[in-house]
């Protein structure tokens, strides 16, 4: 099932990218379904004073517009705040800032989210809290050695409340991931590192929500959700096109992208 949030998130991504005249659109669209699943009943978002809230780390921070959209649509960011996206003096830059309501950690430097998430999950265990930590990474981010340091640590300590989601769109900044630096066999690597690996269609919001709901976050190994996605999902001319890692839309491209959303289920 696709939530009402899903279409709205994509609309906000298109509207704000166009208004601000910025790129990273393909990356945000790539995770839109994952974010829609998380923010429609999975994540227990809370104020920073609520220690028992779930933690969410958007480690691939350059896709933050999808999260800003979800935070706005679920009442954590005002419309006025959203309108400052990528403006002067904004907290809503390309990469998220912790000063924002609903944002637990700043990000932007790839490979830092999972170590921090491991610390969050360790803290939850030490304080006897059932809250969970979700870290959303890109597949190319797993080029970073620190991801594997954290993978070792989390498995060694059986941090079952840690859920790493990999947005596996097979594409990175300068080309196809398999051509830049092959990570295959990707799932087998995580299995070998001692994680529970769950493969899922990362553009199927219902399947994602069902999977998140079924994870045993109270015992056993940490979880790796291997979410296979399409870069730029939902806008035909952006799908799997590297240029939409960078480019802003012109008027015609924006109109077409908006029109295409009307045809989506």
């Amino acid at each position: 099932m696709t939530s009402p949030l899903n279409r709205q998130i994509r609309q906000v991504i298109l509207d704000q990218s166009k208004r601000a005249g910025v790129g990273h659109i393909g990356s945000a669209l790539s995770i839109a379904d994952i974010v829609a699943a998380l923010y429609s009943g999975v994540l227990r978002v809370g104020e920073k004073s609520e220690q028992a809230r779930d933690r969410f780390i958007l480690s691939k921070g350059h896709a933050s517009l999808a999260v800003y959209a979800a935070l706005h649509l679920t009442g954590w960011l005002t419309a006025a705040e959203l309108q400052t996206y990528c403006g002067d003096g904004t907290l809503l830059g390309v990469h998220p800032e912790r000063e924002l309501r609903g944002v637990d950690f700043c990000s932007g430097s790839l490979g830092q989210g999972l170590p921090i998430g491991a610390g969050c999950a360790l803290a939850a265990r030490m304080m006897g809290s059932a809250h969970r930590t979700f870290v959303l990474m890109s597949d190319a981010e797993c080029n970073e050695g620190s991801v594997w340091e954290a993978a070792l640590f989390a498995a060694h300590h059986q941090l079952s409340s840690l859920v790493a989601i990999v947005d596996a769109n097979g594409q990175q900044a300068l080309g196809r991931s398999r051509e830049v630096l092959s990570m295959e066999p990707f799932a087998a690597k995580w299995t070998a590192f001692g994680w529970n690996v769950h493969e899922v269609d990362g553009n199927n919001e219902g399947a994602l929500r069902e999977l998140f709901g079924a994870l045993d976050t109270a015992s056993g190994a940490p979880h790796l959700v291997y979410a296979k996605t399409t870069f730029g999902k939902g806008v035909s001319y952006m799908e799997n096109q590297v240029k939409w890692h960078y480019w802003p839309m012109n008027d015609a491209e924006y109109q077409q992208a908006v029109e295409e959303q009307k045809d989506r289920p």
Binding site: Q51, R55, R98, D104, F105, C106, G108, S109, G111, Q112, L114, P115, I116, G117, A118, G119, C120, A121, L122, A123, A124, M126, M127, T133, G145, S146, E149, A150, L152, F153, H156
Partner: protein
């Protein structure tokens, strides 16, 4: 310094359940006291310093007071960007502890020297930088700084025997500690090389040259008021540090003199080039880089003899 430090941390952890100690697989014969007394709050994360800082960031966000431990370059330089984006940018109370500040790991070679750490940490906005001069001051610094509201970098030495006469284990954030008072020369020093500066002052006194020694353990926040007062009453200041000349204590004093318009000459004694690969004991290296008491004395004597006599002290 480090044994006394971790014995004190172990006691503090008896009282405060927020204290957690993380090590990247170093600290033999130093961390056992904590590990045995607080096993549930001690984690050897393995040889993975970036992950250690990340984990500490997550723990601190949840309300813990995590201390990370390794040898200075592995504690600071390897995970530097994790420190910058983690505890520093998030203003979280992680305590980064580095042992072997300077060239204490002498024969281990340049990979183990901690000679750029203070510059690196001073460049970050909002992390306190503490470099105790002996084990008594290390304990005092920990007792004052363990619950400091933001992140802290603590630069330790291994020497648990030397204690500096006149320092008496005093430490205060934003303050310096003054040993002796003489207006011919101001020696400003930090960290485990401080005993060389104190000894140099004694050697100079035998020659009739009166020195003040200022021990700056609180590098950030810097002891600006006291430093300014001491600089204004001398014509010659020598900074003494086991650190590269750029960005450390000598730079701090140079910046202060320049911005305050104080008419005083600065000589920076620091670790020069180590790129020739020659290593040796800490004593050898101090002498080689002009940081032994005798070489500090010689340099000071020469500088004093070369300049015009000081004006009468008002």
């Amino acid at each position: 310094m480090r044994r006394a430090f971790f014995q004190t941390l172990t006691k503090l952890a008896d009282e405060d359940p927020r204290i957690v100690l993380l090590t990247a697989d170093l600290g033999y014969l130093a961390l056992e006291c904590f590990a045995e007394r607080h096993p549930a709050r001690f984690f050897n994360v393995g040889v993975s310093e970036q992950n250690m800082v990340g984990v500490a960031t997550g723990l601190a966000e949840a309300g813990y007071l995590p201390f990370t431990y390794s040898i200075v370059p592995f504690s600071v330089l390897r995970p530097y960007e994790f420190i910058r984006n983690g505890p520093v940018h998030h203003r979280l109370p992680v305590r980064v502890v580095g042992v072997g500040g300077g060239v204490e790991y002498g024969t281990n070679g340049i990979s183990h020297y901690g000679i750029e750490d203070v510059a690196a940490m001073r460049a970050l906005d909002g992390i306190a930088v503490v470099a105790p001069a002996d084990h008594l001051q290390a304990v005092a610094a920990l007792e004052k700084m363990w619950d400091w509201p933001g992140p802290v970098y603590i630069r330790l030495g291994k020497d648990d025997k030397t204690s500096i006469p006149g320092l008496d284990g005093k430490f205060e954030a934003g303050r310096l500690q003054q040993i002796g008072h003489g207006r011919d020369l101001l020696l400003v020093t930090m960290g485990s090389v401080a005993p060389e500066a104190v000894r140099a002052a004694e050697l100079l006194a035998e020659e009739g040259i009166a020195c003040t020694v200022a021990v700056v353990a609180s590098v950030v926040p810097a002891p600006e008021a006291e430093l300014g007062a001491l600089l204004r009453e001398t014509r010659l200041v020598m900074t003494v540090e086991e650190h590269v000349p750029s960005g450390g204590l000598g730079s701090l004093v140079a910046e202060f003199i320049a911005e305050s318009g104080i008419p005083c000459r600065l000589m920076r004694r620091a670790i020069g080039s180590v790129s020739d690969g020659l290593s040796g004991s800490q004593g050898y290296l101090r002498d080689r880089h002009g940081l032994s008491a005798a070489r500090l004395r010689d340099a000071a004597r020469e500088a004093i003899n070369r300049r015009a006599p000081s004006p009468p002290i008002s």
